[in-house]
C-alpha cells in the first residue's frame, strides 16, 4: 500500500509559500549589519561576565604601578622624565595585548560550545563573522585600557583631549591587530589547550621586543632587526612619541628615550608606522576569513 495520507491534504494546502521574515541582501550594508550583530554579541558577553571585566580592569593597574615603581627605582632616564612616564605608553599597549588576543581565540570556544554553528548557518558571510569577532574583541580591549588612560595624570602626562583620543586610536589599532592574530590562530587550532600557549608564545616576545618596556636604542644588531619586524613596535612607538611630544624634552633625552625607527636608513614617519599596522591587520583578517571559509 502506497497511499500517502498527506497527498489529499496537499492539493488543498497548495497556497503560496510565505515569504521569509527579514531582509537579506548581498551588499555592503548587509555585511556591515551582520558584522555589527556579531560585534555586539562580543560586547554583550563582556558586559555579562563580571569576573572577566574586573580582572581585566585591574591587570593593567598592576602593570603600571608595580612595574613603573619597581623598575623605576633602578632605571635612570637621565633627565626630568620619570621612568613611569616613559613606561606608560608601553604599558597601555601591553594592557590590550592579552585581552585582545584572548578575545580572538574565543572563536575556539565558540566552536567548542557549538555557538559557531549558529553563526555559520545564518544567511551572513563568513567574512562578517570574522570581522565581527575582531571588531568586538578590539572594542572590548580598547575599552578596558580606558581605565588606565584615565590615570595619565598620575605619571605626569597632561589630560589633553586630543592626545587621549589619538592614544585611543592607536590602542584600537593595536587591539584589532592582536584580535585578528588570535582569530587567525583559532581558524587552525581547534582546542583551547592548544590555542592558549600558542597565543602566549606569539604575544610574549612581541611584547618585550616592541619597545614597550625599554627603549629600542642600543640593542644588538640582530635584535634590532627583530624589533623592526615586530608589528607591535609600530603601535608602541607612535604612542610614545605622542606622549613624549607633549613634554618638553631635550634632543638628548629624545634620542635616548625615543630612538627613531629606520628602514634601511630611512626614518619611518609615525603615519607610515600606523599604516603598516593597519595594512598587516587587514591582511590578517582577510587571511583568517579565507582560512575560515576553507576549514569550517
Amino acid at each position: 500500500m502506497n497511499t500517502d495520507p498527506m497527498s489529499t491534504d496537499q492539493t488543498t494546502t497548495s497556497r503560496p509559500a510565505p515569504a521569509p521574515l527579514g531582509e537579506v541582501r548581498n551588499d555592503l550594508t548587509h555585511h556591515a549589519r551582520a558584522t555589527w550583530v556579531v560585534t555586539r554579541r562580543e560586547l554583550l558577553r563582556f558586559r555579562q561576565d563580571r569576573a572577566r571585566m574586573l580582572s581585566m580592569l585591574l591587570q593593567p593597574l598592576l602593570f603600571i604601578f608595580v612595574m613603573g615603581t619597581g623598575l623605576g627605582s633602578i632605571v635612570d632616564t637621565g633627565g626630568d622624565v620619570s621612568f613611569s612616564t616613559f613606561l606608560f605608553p608601553g604599558v597601555l599597549a601591553t594592557s590590550v595585548l592579552f585581552t585582545a588576543g584572548f578575545a580572538g581565540i574565543s572563536l575556539v570556544w565558540d566552536r567548542e560550545f557549538g555557538f559557531l554553528r549558529e553563526m555559520m548557518v545564518a544567511p551572513i558571510s563568513r567574512a562578517s563573522i570574522i570581522w565581527g569577532k575582531c571588531l568586538g574583541g578590539a572594542i572590548v580591549a580598547t575599552g578596558q585600557s580606558l581605565v588606565l588612560l584615565a590615570l595619565v595624570g598620575t605619571v605626569g602626562i597632561p589630560y589633553d583631549p586630543l592626545l587621549l583620543a589619538q592614544l585611543v586610536g592607536c590602542l584600537f589599532l593595536g587591539s584589532l591587530f592582536l584580535t585578528a592574530l588570535g582569530v587567525l590562530l583559532s581558524t587552525r587550532i581547534r582546542s583551547i589547550q592548544g590555542a592558549m600557549p600558542m597565543l602566549q608564545l606569539l604575544i610574549t616576545p612581541m611584547m618585550f621586543l616592541s619597545g614597550s618596556l625599554f627603549p629600542l636604542g642600543g640593542l644588538p644588531g640582530w635584535l634590532s632587526v627583530v624589533t623592526r619586524l615586530n608589528p607591535l613596535t609600530y603601535v608602541v612607538q607612535p604612542m610614545r612619541s605622542l606622549v613624549l611630544g607633549h613634554l618638553d624634552l631635550t634632543a638628548a633625552e629624545q634620542q635616548r628615550l625615543l630612538p627613531a625607527i629606520t628602514w634601511g636608513g630611512w626614518q619611518v614617519p609615525v603615519g607610515v608606522q600606523l599604516l603598516t599596522v593597519a595594512v598587516i591587520t587587514v591582511g590578517l583578517v582577510g587571511l583568517a576569513a579565507r582560512m575560515f571559509r576553507t576549514t569550517e
Binding site: 491534504d9 509559500a17 555579562q48
Partner: protein, 329 residues
C-alpha cells in the same frame, strides 16, 4: 518569489558525498533521492554512520554535495545558499546556544542575524517563547537552564525567522521521557498552527510514529521510504487478541465465516492478519457472540527498522560516543 505554486519542501536527486579518509575515500552518502512535500513531518532514521548527519548537513548548506542536487524550500542548496538559509530553521544535536547570554539575547541575536526588523523580532521572540513556555525565564542566562529547557529554547530559536522548513537533528537525544513528550507536543502544535515542514532525525522509534512519512537510511542509501503505517504493514502482520464468552465457538466461527485461522494463546483468542484494523469490524458483525475486549497489536517501527537494516536501533546506538567524535564538521 512568494506567489509561486507550492513546490516540494525538499527535493533531492542523486545526492552523494564522499571525502578522503587516509588513503581511501569514504562514501558517506551514495546517491539518494528524497521528496518531502510541504507541510509534512518527515522522519529520517538510520543507524549511526548511515549518512544521516552528512545528508542533513548538505540540505542545510553546511556541506557541499560531491554530486547530485538538492533543493530546499525551492532553492538550490549550492547555488542559492543564502536563499535556502533564510528559509530553514536548524536544531542541531549539539547545543548551539550562547550560554552566557540570556534566552532573549540568544533569540535577539538570531533575529538580527536573519535580518528581522525590530518590530518583527520583538513579536516573533514573544511568540516563540510563549510557544515553548519559556516566557517567564526569558531574562535568565541559558547557563541556568536544564537540558530540556535549552532544547526548547533551541527549537524556539529555529523558528524565530518563520522558516518554511525546520531541520531537527536528534532533537530529543539525552532528554527524559516527559521532556521528549513535551517537545513532540510543541512540534505537533507547531504543525497545526503553521504550514511548516519538519525534517527530523531520531533514534527513538516511538517518536518516528509522529511522522507523516519516514525514510530509513543505511550504508549511505535510503533503503525504504513510506508512511509509518505502510512500513509496518510491509514487514509483518497484526495480531488480534479477543476475549469472548465462548472461545471455542469464536474460533470455529472465525474459521467458518472469515476463513481465518485462530487459536487460544494466554487465555485469549488470537489471530494474525495483515490489516488488523480492517478485520475487527467484521469480527463484530460476523461472530454473533459477546466479545468482551479486542486488542490489535501492530508491528512496531522497531520491527521495521530491524527488517531493513538488519539491526535494532539499540544495537546501532552502541558506538554513539565514538560516532559523536567522528569528523562531522
Amino acid at each position: 518569489m512568494s506567489n509561486t505554486v507550492r513546490e516540494p519542501a525538499i527535493e533531492v536527486v542523486g545526492l552523494t558525498k564522499s571525502y578522503p579518509s587516509g588513503d581511501t575515500v569514504v562514501e558517506a552518502v551514495r546517491g539518494i533521492d528524497l521528496r518531502v512535500e510541504a507541510g509534512q513531518t518527515y522522519g529520517f532514521l538510520g543507524p549511526n554512520g548511515a549518512g544521516k548527519s552528512t545528508t542533513i548537513e548538505m540540505l542545510c548548506t553546511i556541506r557541499n554535495p560531491t554530486s547530485g542536487s538538492a533543493r530546499v524550500a525551492g532553492f538550490d542548496v549550492v547555488r542559492e545558499r543564502t536563499e535556502v538559509r533564510r528559509r530553514i530553521g536548524l536544531v542541531f544535536q549539539q547545543q548551539t546556544l550562547d550560554q552566557q547570554l540570556t534566552a532573549r539575547q540568544n533569540l535577539r541575536f538570531h533575529a538580527d542575524l536573519y535580518g528581522l526588523s525590530r518590530a518583527d523580532a520583538d513579536r516573533r521572540i514573544d511568540e516563540v517563547l510563549e510557544m515553548v513556555a519559556l516566557t517567564d525565564r526569558r531574562d535568565d542566562p541559558v547557563l541556568r537552564f536544564s537540558g530540556g529547557m535549552k532544547r526548547r529554547l533551541e527549537i524556539a530559536r529555529g523558528l524565530v525567522h518563520a522558516p518554511q522548513v525546520l531541520f531537527l537533528d536528534e532533537p530529543t537525544i539525552g532528554l527524559d521521557p516527559q521532556t521528549r513528550a513535551a517537545i513532540w507536543d510543541y512540534l505537533r502544535d507547531l504543525r497545526q498552527r503553521t504550514e511548516i515542514t519538519v525534517f527530523v532525525t531520531t533514534h527513538y522509534m516511538d517518536e518516528a510514529e509522529h511522522c507523516d512519512r519516514i525514510a530509513i537510511m543505511d550504508h549511505g542509501q535510503v533503503v525504504v521510504e513510506d508512511t509509518p503505517e505502510a512500513l509496518k504493514s510491509s514487514v509483518g502482520t497484526d495480531r488480534i487478541a479477543l476475549r469472548t464468552d465462548d472461545d471455542e465457538l469464536a474460533i470455529a466461527r472465525i474459521q467458518e465465516r472469515l476463513g481465518l485461522a485462530a487459536g487460544v494463546h494466554e487465555g485469549q483468542v488470537t489471530l494474525a492478519v495483515p490489516e488488523g484494523a480492517h478485520v475487527v469490524p467484521r469480527l463484530f458483525t460476523s461472530l454473533d457472540l459477546h466479545i468482551r475486549s479486542v486488542t490489535v497489536t501492530r508491528p512496531s517501527l522497531d520491527d521495521v527498522f530491524l527488517t531493513y537494516t538488519g539491526r535494532t536501533i539499540r544495537d546501532s546506538e552502541g558506538p554513539r560516543a565514538a560516532a559523536g567524535k567522528a569528523p562531522t564538521r
